[in-house]
Symmetry: C2
Subunit: 133 residues, 2 copies
Amino acid sequence: MHDDLSPLCGRFLAAADLLGRRWTGVILRILLDGPRRFGELAQGIGTISERVLSERLKDLEAEGIIERHVDPGPPIRSEYRLTQKGQDFWKVIDELGKWAERWVELKPAPVSVSGKSVAAKAARAAPRKRKTA
Amino acid sequence: MHDDLSPLCGRFLAAADLLGRRWTGVILRILLDGPRRFGELAQGIGTISERVLSERLKDLEAEGIIERHVDPGPPIRSEYRLTQKGQDFWKVIDELGKWAERWVELKPAPVSVSGKSVAAKAARAAPRKRKTA
DNA sequence: GGTCTTCACTTACTTTTAGGAAGTTGCTTG
DNA sequence: CAAGCAACTTCCTAAAAGTAAGTGAAGACC
């Protein structure tokens, strides 16, 4: 079956662990478009909390994936940009994006189309993003 | 900068959210090698708790990424396998693996080589996998 | 010059998710 | 019939993430 896959070694586990933290993929996706400031990232993502964004940026910086540049030009502004290690992540993000385009259907709203409840199974799980409550 | 990337739309966010749950990438990586049973997955991953593995498998099944086949041949056994949607994920996992090969350095152990503490920064964060405690 | 606002974060507190271990069900083996 | 799988659940604790409010420095407004 895809016997040409990279092996499941410690390296892979570390990478999966990184991407397995919430928002990491989205942050990387945005930074691949170019450097961004803290506020821009927060806005671009929309639903991330500043607390977690701050945490994630520190994680990524510690991993050497992004760099933080502070411009103290009085209105103090910081900017985050990808290192080479981070830039190199682009193929992963791109493939994820392609997969999403092919397979993810936006659920427009839990409406039923011709009697069949479209978002049936989704309803019984998903305590993530219950912003509506 | 990579202006040919897929857009940051709802589809991407959903995909990133999926992969942003811990263990998802690793489970997919293993299933890309072929169908696996619950116990095999648990063993293959090593450090996942059965509780979470069970949860993650249900998530993935609900998303239509894997299928659960129960073989009631008295020793009841279940088997998980990828659907087409799941198989199609292979490029993402493969790129992640390639990135990991290029950029992830295995930290052999927190030994100091010639006086310099090797795992210096790693030490102050990482309450994940503190199995050693 | 006192007040207001922005930016980039922190702190404090709550909820959700993950980890760890023991229990459950159904069937088999000694 | 006690023990042992296999595949899960349950229960309980410990990390993460969510939410809101606060901090500090620099302008901008009045």
